[in-house]
């Protein structure tokens, strides 16, 4: 079942906005860029989760919430489902998206001749652009009652791994 309904806009609107968002905060010297982008994404994640779950029964266990994120939430926000979900059964979940939509147009400027390339220039660049989606996911999780940290690893683009670490409840 798709959660996408109502008004549409072109995908490039979202691409251009998130691109400029990263660029804007990179230009500011006095504002910590990751924190600002994270705050923006976190709010949106909460709002989206609220809207996407308005007409359904409450999600209970964290596993149920994670499954919802992998399927419905991912499809609505990132246009496809997560391809693979793995867990260590101790609160860590790895969500693998074989072709993460938001990074599909990422490309690295070619280095000038003679300059040695770093370990993974694309992953380095992708880090800035992954703050927003990670925050989005974290916001959605928190709204659904799961406190967690979300990190992403894009060293095998176009595939991207998102790691969710649920904070243990004492």
């Amino acid at each position: 079942m798709s959660l996408v309904k109502g008004r549409t806009c072109s995908e490039s609107c979202m691409e251009l906005l998130s691109l400029e968002l990263v660029h804007y905060y990179a230009r500011q010297n006095n504002i910590p860029a990751p924190a600002a982008v994270e705050a923006i994404g976190f709010r949106v994640g909460r709002q989206l989760a609220e809207r996407y779950t308005a007409n359904r029964a409450r999600l209970g266990e964290p596993l149920e919430v994670i499954k919802f994120i992998c399927k419905e939430f991912w499809a609505a926000a990132f246009r496809k489902q997560v391809d693979n979900l793995r867990t260590n059964h101790r609160g860590t979940f790895v969500l693998k998206d074989a072709a993460f939509r938001w990074l599909s147009k990422l490309s690295v400027d070619p280095l000038p001749p003679g300059v040695p390339a770093g370990p993974s220039p694309v992953a380095e660049l992708a880090r800035d652009y992954l703050i927003l989606p990670c925050a989005l996911i974290r916001g959605a999780l928190v709204h659904l009652g799961v406190e967690a940290t979300v990190t992403a690893d894009a060293s095998n683009l176009p595939a991207c791994d998102f790691t969710i670490n649920i904070k243990s409840r004492n």
Binding site: S10, C13, L17, I40, R43, A76
Partner: protein
């Protein structure tokens, strides 16, 4: 064009405006930054517009305004604007937005009455046109969020640089 549900875009935009207000603490500065961000978006967006809109060269500024209102807004925001209030020289007009997705979930508190929430659109139009050698100024003169009946963008042609080579057949 690939379409997505607009809410993720409009909510992200709203969250960004909120963050700018928190960071900059001055609505005039926020308006300015939104315009600059729009400009940076516009200079990229024009490529996609030219590549995908399949429209020809604009005959005059009236034609340009029409294409922005009917093709541009439709392509990106899936809405359209009306062009109205031309001046006698055809260098100034208004784009009237009756239906603006950016404002879908928005209400402005009274103390932010000076905020031009959709100012990014002005920057986008200015930046996109600059890439095709048309210099314009663009600003909101009416805004539904501030209690007006419609949102109205005033578009003013400042200068137009003509490419001379090799378009001899126009002479």
């Amino acid at each position: 064009m690939d379409a997505i549900n607009a809410e993720i875009f409009t909510l992200t935009y709203g969250s960004m405006v909120r963050q700018l207000i928190a960071d900059l603490e001055d609505v005039n500065e926020v308006n300015k930054q939104l315009d600059t961000m729009g400009y940076n978006i516009g200079i990229r967006l024009i490529d996609e517009f030219l590549a995908k809109s399949k429209t020809g060269k604009c005959i005059d500024f009236r034609d340009t305004a029409d294409k922005i209102a009917k093709v541009g807004f439709k392509m990106f925001l899936n809405t359209s604007a009306a062009v109205a209030n031309w001046n006698a020289d055809s260098t100034e007009c208004s784009l009237i937005l009756e239906d603006n997705p950016l404002t879908d979930f928005v209400e402005l508190p009274e103390n932010y009455a000076g905020l031009s929430y959709c100012n990014v659109l002005c920057g986008v139009i200015r930046g996109a046109l600059e890439m095709v050698n048309i210099n314009v100024s663009c600003s909101f003169v009416k805004d539904v969020l501030r209690g007006d009946d419609v949102s109205e963008l005033r578009l003013k042609l400042l200068s137009q640089m003509h490419e001379t080579y090799p378009y001899k057949d126009d002479d």
